[in-house]
């Protein structure tokens, strides 16, 4: 009898769960905080940030009731697959490795990479002749590293660093002519000081950041793609972006 009750309640829970999952009137979205300015808690304990506001706008568009879940980064994909939430909107870059386990929406933002140098250095970073013999710093294993390795091996001296701080120190100490980093990182570490500037145009690398969902929830992905597309075109996206960034991250 007891077993029967347990089995029945399990079946009921599953049924309720799947009903909820099918019409998507309620969506649980996970964030890893803090990752300013994308998602963080205010001193009052309220969840906010660029991605949080974008998620709120998206849910309004979907006419769904959204629950926001805070989840540490290393448990993100396991938590999604274990149905603890339905979507991840926590700056998860789209990579082939992750795409094998989760379903990504269309990208909704991408921070560009940019060349930074002392103000005295002003060269054409797209020209191989101008870059000849320059000492270039990148963070090891990043998309910037891959880009420089593929395009500038043999042209420039490539120095790979573990942390952005070490790289900035070597730019300061004139061991490097240029560094190639994520724009927000360079913006914070170098442009906030005197004597540094962006060389050339920022470059979009990688596929950007998308909403991650379970592979079977194709219907949800379609809805989210449609909603994001609408937000990008009706000006809502731009309004939220301007609140948090002085540069363009739209994709």
């Amino acid at each position: 009898m007891k077993k029967l009750i347990i089995a029945a309640s399990c079946a009921l829970a599953l049924a309720v769960g799947s009903v909820q999952a099918r019409d998507w009137s309620e969506i649980r979205i996970a964030f890893d905080v803090p990752y300013e300015p994308f998602e963080y808690l205010t001193p009052e304990g309220e969840l906010t940030g660029f991605e949080v506001e974008l998620a709120e706008a998206m849910c309004k568009e979907l006419e769904a009731k959204c629950h926001f879940v805070i989840q540490a980064w290393d448990g993100m994909i396991p938590g999604l697959l274990a149905r603890r939430f339905d979507a991840i909107m926590s700056s998860m870059s789209i990579t082939p490795e992750r795409a094998q386990r989760v379903l990504f929406s269309e990208p909704y933002y991408n921070t560009p990479a940019a060349w930074f140098a002392k103000t005295s250095v002003d060269i054409d970073v797209t020209s191989r002749e101008a870059m000849q013999g320059k000492r270039v710093g990148v963070q090891r294993g990043t998309t910037m590293d891959t880009y420089v390795t593929e395009n500038l091996t043999g042209v420039t001296t490539i120095r790979r660093y573990t942390t952005a701080e070490d790289m900035v120190l070597d730019l300061e100490g004139q061991r490097l002519d240029l560094v190639f980093v994520d724009f927000p990182v360079g913006d914070q570490a170098l442009l906030s000081r005197e004597g540094y500037h962006v060389v050339g145009e920022p470059v979009q690398l990688g596929e950007g950041v998308g909403v991650a969902m379970r592979p079977r929830d194709r219907d949800l992905a379609e809805k989210i793609n449609a909603a994001l597309d609408k937000l990008k075109n009706d000006g809502t996206y731009d309004a939220i972006m301007k609140k948090y960034f002085s540069y363009d991250i739209k994709i």
């Binding site: 090891r140 294993g141 120095r159 790979r160 660093y161 070597d170 300061e172 100490g173 004139q174 061991r175």
Partner: protein, 241 residues
């Protein structure tokens, strides 16, 4: 490389020709860095050890301070201070020193040399001070000067006593040179980290590099065993090779 080898290698996803050449460059850098610092360190350490064992405070004091500073702090910190610290000295970029310090190799070589010289000084000093008193008294009785005693009696017998401890120092130095990669040098560890981050394959990248370090270590152990047999050949029973 011969073509049949490159063809065979390129079938492998991680250990292809590019990766192997990267490891090879790393091996060359590691060997250069380790052995240059050991050789210079040893040359510096012998006179320092003699000063340290001289028994006169104004000679041994400064050497004592130096060895205690360098043996009392981690090599990684010394490397950070020499590499990043020197670049912060105002105006250094305009002096001739910058030719040396703008590259990561020489600051790392300097840090490793100073570190190994400090340890080697103490190893040799220990061997010098444990020279049997009778040997020195006999040399004095023969009327040998300090220099003659040192050259003929003290240093040869000290070298026999310190060879084992010094072999350990050499192996430690080889392993400690792995931290050179934090100042962007592509040594063996730096190459392994590049390959790891390119293929997301930590096991393959690091186990391969561990095997290379192990091969180097065993070569050194073998070499020092031969050296020890040679130095202690007078202690072997008569009639044995």
């Amino acid at each position: 490389m011969p073509e049949f080898i490159t063809q065979w290698l390129d079938q492998h996803e991680i250990f292809n020709t590019l990766t192997i050449l990267h490891y090879w460059d790393g091996l060359v850098t590691t060997v250069q860095l380790t052995f240059l610092s050991l050789i210079v360190g040893l040359i510096v350490a012998v006179p320092l050890a003699l000063l340290r064992a001289s028994g006169k405070w104004y000679l041994s004091g400064p050497v004592w301070l130096y060895t205690y500073l360098f043996r009392g702090t981690p090599l990684l910190i010394q490397l950070y201070i020499i590499y990043y610290g020197i670049a912060q000295v105002p105006g250094i970029q305009d002096t001739f020193w910058w030719v040396i310090f703008s590259e990561p190799f020489y600051p790392a070589l300097l840090a490793f040399t100073l570190n190994t010289a400090a340890y080697t000084t103490e190893i040799i000093r220990g061997a010098i001070t444990s020279t049997p008193r009778g040997e020195i008294e006999a040399a004095k009785a023969y009327g040998m000067s300090w220099w003659q005693r040192t050259r003929r009696i003290v240093l040869p017998s000290a070298s026999r006593r310190c060879v084992q401890a010094y072999a350990n120092e050499v192996i430690f130095m080889l392993h400690a040179s792995a931290i050179a990669s934090v100042v962007t040098i592509i040594d063996l560890t730096g190459a392994a980290r590049d390959i790891y981050s390119r293929y997301y394959a930590p096991f393959e990248a690091f186990i391969a590099v561990a095997l290379i370090y192990m091969a180097l270590t065993f070569t050194l152990v073998y070499g020092f065993r031969r050296l020890e047999r040679h130095l202690l050949r007078h202690q072997r029973p008569v009639g044995q090779a």
